[in-house]
């Protein structure tokens, strides 16, 4: 149950940060820092509302997920990729080793690994359509006419 909550938190964090970063034009640092501050403060002042392990880990998972959302639009263009990399991040976080426990930047490193591994996915998926360039142009023209 807690695992599902962490996965959902990471996915939501990545998507919301990306939205605030690019749609609301707040810049990567402010969107990540402000959102994680807003999430962390309630858990700091009311630590007993939720389960102890939940209120301890949710802010950490959220700030890690928000690092994924700091990516620029050139790198990630779809929210689906963000969601997948949020999932990968939470899987890494759930299995973190004790050796690197408490290292600053371990969250950022796992976010980077999650995003990098998702970036290589398009190279493995087969191309959906084998249309030639001419047919694509024709389709563009037809759809443009229909719009007018």
């Amino acid at each position: 149950m807690t695992a599902i909550i962490f996965i959902l938190t990471a996915i939501i964090a990545a998507m919301v940060t990306f939205y605030v970063n690019h749609e609301l034009k707040q810049g990567p640092v402010r969107s990540s820092a402000l959102l994680s501050l807003l999430v962390a403060l309630p858990f700091y002042f009311f630590p007993n509302v939720l389960d102890v392990s939940l209120s301890k880990n949710i802010p950490v998972v959220f700030i890690g997920g928000s690092f994924i959302g700091m990516a620029s639009k050139k790198i990630v263009d779809s929210y689906i990729k963000l969601a997948i990399s949020g999932l990968v991040f939470s899987v890494i976080y759930l299995n973190t080793s004790n050796f690197f426990n408490g290292y600053g930047g371990a969250l950022g490193a796992s976010a980077g690994i999650a995003l990098l591994s998702v970036l290589s996915l398009p190279f493995f998926t087969p191309k959906k359509h084998h249309l030639t360039n001419g047919i694509l142009q024709l389709r563009k023209i037809i759809f443009k006419r229909n719009k007018d």
Binding site: L37, A40, P59, G69, A71, I92, G104, G112, S117, V118
Partner: protein, 186 residues
Amino acid sequence: MARKKVRTFIILLTLVIQILFLSAIFVEKLQTSYTPIVIILLCILLLASYVKAPIHHRTNVYDHILIVLWIPAGALSCYFLNHGFHLGPVISAGIVGTTASFIPQINKHSAYLKQLPATFYCGAFIGMTNLSIASSVYFVLAASFFAGVLLLVSKSLFNGLGGKLGTVAFTAVTITSFIFFLLFKK
């Protein structure tokens, strides 16, 4: 020529650190059923995106060298908020990052001020380190020195990748803790 060698070295260093991070998980979770498979899969995907994905810029972005001075400032402020006031790592990094993100408002035309938020945030990640690893202020200062060097050199690499700052901070902290381990063996 030297510039190209530095580029290759930094990319290789980042790859080694990431593989190290994954293999630490791999060794510890060998008993569980699905984790090793996931780790191996992640390693293959990582290698593929290192080889194929367009994550590096060819151009060399000009960067102010003095920008590095602000990494220790971010790291120390986050460290004291974290351990002096017992706010916890997430809140202290959030406070430092939010405050730093308003710095460009002082002078909107200055290109120098625009680069400061990312630098401060990178420093804040170093300040998130636990007391059992960063036992003194000197550890934070040494780690921020390494982070500064790495950030300057890797300016045009991994551009716009989420988690780049975190990876830089993690690399710096790992190098520093290794050096401290060699110098003052526990």
